[in-house]
């Protein structure tokens, strides 16, 4: 019954975006699958309100030194973008290169990092690591401003190898030291003063000044280094080019991309897809865009096995439901509260719990978070005043000859228009029983907010509350 092309396109949009309304899906369907993949992987104008207008008129997103305003601003970008992949890849790198406000007390520097992910996140992984190593927020987050030629601080060097590229077991403690030596002198302008300001977290009385990268040659250890068996007077870029060509790096990047863009668990078939991505990593010169194109075209990704094989992260949950309801297309008061909701579900933007980012998959589900998830999506999608739900009501009416829906049709079409979502037989029978309670639904002459529309809202609420809706 579910149209296979639509279901596949919806799957792609849940992965390369935050899910899609039927209208959006139809736009991508017109391009065909290959065309849609290319369009998503080559973001153009995201169509959000220009920053200067936001600054001027939307105080709730203007105070970018603040965590609340900055998180709300990023969420608005995710909700309103016409290039969802651009935000999705930024969210991916934000989770992997997890940098948090807690230590920086400088939200603007985090938004700058996110902008860097938008700009470079689909390009070469080697280039991305260089940009990351020069990113002021990362420098402070992992203490590279304390990494001096005279005395190394290994924090960044260690995480670069362990959490950001090869993964533990593929290098020695000596490699960490040599790597750290190569990044001495990679700091930010006026580092000492900035560190004091960050530690004091006081916007009084002088405010906070934008951070920028600064390379201090006199603080750089220019001596010979031996890293992963290669010897030379390596600087940071040299180290990164050695990291980038490692098989372990290719596997690491491919696996992490797979787990974020395909499935929480790597099955045997999934591993085949990872192998293909590794091959692309090398053949394309480490291009992330090409690896993802490979992934989206694998047999695995297009198969039923890959569908609904990820637990939606809180950001995907909230942004997805709002994109479906059509609310907050312009900045609006109250958006900070919505971005707080993601925090209540366990994922506050710009505040990952540690440098390891968020534990995904099943760890998103605990009783507190599940209540928040269900309540949020159920409320967002049952409000018949919201533009997305109004459009669903119109589509439901148009789908019948006489404007009358049988109870099972009401359930099936709501499942279809919110996804299509595939549900178990048990879930399906609960939905149909629920609809049956009030018999056939006559949408003829429906008026905004009347009982006929409300029945649609009630059904959408229940679909949003299913276990299946928790999955992407």
């Amino acid at each position: 019954m579910i149209n296979n092309d639509t279901a596949l396109m919806a799957h792609l949009l849940r992965r390369a975006g935050f899910g899609a309304s039927r209208t959006e899906l139809e736009g991508y369907m017109a391009m065909g699958y290959d065309g849609a993949v290319d369009a998503l992987l080559n973001p153009s104008d995201p169509g959000n309100m220009p920053d200067d207008l936001i600054r001027r008129y939307h105080v709730e997103q203007s105070e970018l030194r603040d965590l609340a305003g900055s998180a709300a601003y990023w969420m608005y970008r995710m909700i309103s973008t016409t290039c969802p992949m651009e935000e999705k890849i930024a969210l991916f790198w934000h989770g992997l290169f997890a940098t948090g406000y807690a230590k920086l007390n400088q939200a603007r520097s985090l938004l700058n990092q996110v902008e860097m992910f938008r700009r470079s996140g689909l390009g070469s992984f080697e280039n991305l690591l260089v940009e990351l190593s020069k990113d002021p927020a990362m420098i402070v987050w992992l203490d590279n401003n304390e990494n001096h030629g005279s005395a190394i601080n290994e924090n960044y060097g260690r995480e670069l190898l362990e959490l950001f590229s090869m993964g533990i077991g593929n290098y020695t403690e000596d490699d960490i030291k040599e790597c750290s030596r190569a990044f001495t002198g990679w700091t930010l302008g006026n580092a000492e003063y900035m560190a004091v300001r960050a530690s004091k977290d006081s916007i009084w009385p002088y405010g906070r000044i934008a951070w920028h990268f600064d390379y201090r040659d006199e603080d750089h250890d220019d001596g010979e280094k031996t890293f992963l068996g290669e010897t030379g007077k390596f600087n940071g870029e040299d180290i990164i080019s050695i990291i980038a060509k490692q098989e372990s790096t290719a596997r690491f990047v491919a696996t992490r991309l797979f787990q974020f863009f395909a499935a929480d668990e790597v099955t045997e078939a999934g591993d085949k897809a990872i192998q293909e991505m590794i091959a692309t990593y090398f053949s394309s010169g480490y291009q992330i865009r090409d690896m993802l194109r490979t992934l989206f075209h694998t047999e695995y990704f297009r198969s039923d096995e890959a569908r609904f094989s990820r637990v939606k992260g809180p950001v995907e949950m909230v942004v997805g439901a709002i994109r479906m309801s059509g609310n907050y297309q312009n900045p609006a008061l109250g958006i900070e509260k919505v971005s707080d909701t993601m925090l209540y579900m366990g994922q506050g933007l710009l505040q990952p719990p540690t440098v390891e980012g968020w534990h995904e998959g099943s760890e998103w589900i605990d009783s507190g978070a599940l209540v928040e998830r269900v309540n949020f999506a159920a409320k967002e999608l049952s409000d018949v005043r919201s533009p997305g739900v109004r459009s669903i009501i119109d589509r439901l009416q148009a789908s019948t000859d006489d404007g009358v829906l049988e109870p099972s049709d009401l359930a099936d079409r709501c499942l279809d228009l919110l996804g299509p979502i595939e549900v178990s037989d048990e879930t399906h029978s609960v939905l149909v029983d629920y609809a049956n309670r009030q018999g056939a639904l006559d949408l003829n002459g429906h008026q905004p907010g009347d009982s006929a529309e409300q029945r649609v809202g009630n059904m959408l609420r229940l679909v949003a509350a299913t276990r299946e809706y928790q999955l992407a």
């Binding site: 977290d201 507190g368 269900v374 409320k379 178990s424 609960v430 229940l462 276990r467």
Partner: protein, 377 residues
């Protein structure tokens, strides 16, 4: 009313934003206090004296009454080495009991896991407020977070009771009977059922409670009332948590701080009256803490982030009194214009874990810390 043998519970009131220690437990006998706090001070004639050196903030009347009954322990100069003056980081440190590394697990979440390793009671730990404070967060530990006890649960926005009932019934069916199908579906089914069950049980709490105590209408007092209702419903809740604020008094401190402490002291007073009325005074201990104190010198209308603060433990089982030395205000003793904390916060945690919740403390607070003897009988 007599309490049958019940297990001890911990009630935590977090003062978010950095409570100004100097204006809470005021060193009114020390001229240096008035020198440093030329604008933002509590005048001698307004302080509620404890002795000839220290006194409580004038808004702390109910705390002073409890102090006179020997039920209040003041832990002076509490903090940790190398103080961090960021709200977020410092609160994280208190929450995870990890001053050096970035901690992953909340100290109370670990305690809850040790109390109830199999997660048999979904209500062992409850937060009153939205979202989980880091102190209660840890993968695999279920903690309910209750925004509003009256409407807690699923679909709180559905006004029509009949519709809500049908929706909950459908939810219960949709989240049941899935054992063995798929691990994620199973997990969600179990968790959904836990949430329903927790909500069902919690909703009964207000009905199982009656009291002559009238809590004020402010948010903290109402959360503390919910804590009392749930505590007295005997649902096995061992850790009950809430927070109040913002105590980040960079400006207009005297007005804001007085109002906040009025609310905090009032809520504590009501709770203690409530416990007394129910004969449960010896079964609950209250911990009050903040992430840091504030700068010694004021800034003209408020005070900036500092270090070294006060924590309080209050309850029938508490050995009341002053613990730890009040940090010196002498310039030579300050660190960057702040009080030097001389008591590690993990000492208090150790005391609570060992002498109140009957748990192994070192594994939770990551080390051995000397106790003050606040809870020893």
């Amino acid at each position: 009313m007599t309490s049958n043998k019940r297990e001890k519970s911990l009630i935590v009131i977090q003062l978010s934003g950095g409570n100004d220690y100097l204006n809470t437990v005021v060193p009114y006998g020390n001229g240096k206090y008035y020198d440093s706090r030329s604008k933002v001070n509590i005048p001698q004639n307004q302080v509620i004296p404890i002795d000839d050196q220290l006194g409580f903030n004038p808004s702390m009347g109910p705390v002073k009454s409890l102090w006179d009954e020997g039920k209040v322990a003041v832990i002076n100069g509490i903090g940790y080495e190398n103080p961090n003056r960021s709200h977020f980081r410092s609160m994280d440190i208190w929450h995870t009991a990890e001053p050096d590394a970035i901690g992953k697990e909340g100290w109370l979440a670990r305690a809850i896991r040790d109390i109830d390793p199999l997660g048999d009671n979904v209500l062992t730990g409850i937060n009153f407020g939205r979202g989980l404070p880091r102190a209660l967060a840890c993968p695999g530990v279920s903690v309910a977070s209750v925004g509003d006890l009256e409407t807690y649960g699923l679909f709180p926005d559905v006004q029509d009771e009949e519709l809500r009932m049908f929706t909950l019934e459908a939810f219960s069916r949709m989240y049941g009977n899935a054992a063995g199908r798929d691990p994620i579906m199973d997990l969600m089914g179990r968790t959904g059922q836990d949430a329903l069950q927790g909500a069902d049980i919690l909703r009964t709490a207000p009905r199982m409670y009656s009291s002559s105590v009238e809590y004020a209408p402010n948010s903290l007092a109402q959360n503390v009332k919910s804590i009392s209702q749930v505590f007295h419903a005997n649902l096995g809740a061992r850790v009950l948590y809430t927070q109040h604020g913002p105590f980040d008094t960079h400006s207009g401190e005297l007005v804001t701080h007085a109002k906040l402490w009025d609310e905090v002291a009032g809520a504590i007073g009501c709770l203690m009256d409530d416990l007394k009325e129910h004969g449960t005074e010896d079964d609950a201990t209250i911990l009050v803490f903040s992430e840091f104190g504030r700068r010694i010198k004021d800034n003209g209308s408020g005070s900036d982030h500092g270090s070294g603060g006060a924590a309080f433990m209050i309850g029938g089982a508490v050995n009341g009194g002053m613990y730890g030395e009040y940090p010196s205000l002498a310039e030579a003793e300050q660190i960057e214009g702040d009080l030097r904390s001389n008591n590690d916060f993990r000492s208090v945690y150790t005391e609570i874990l060992e002498d109140w919740l009957d748990l192994d403390a070192p594994s939770i607070v990551n080390g051995q810390f000397e106790k003050f003897g606040i809870l020893q009988s």
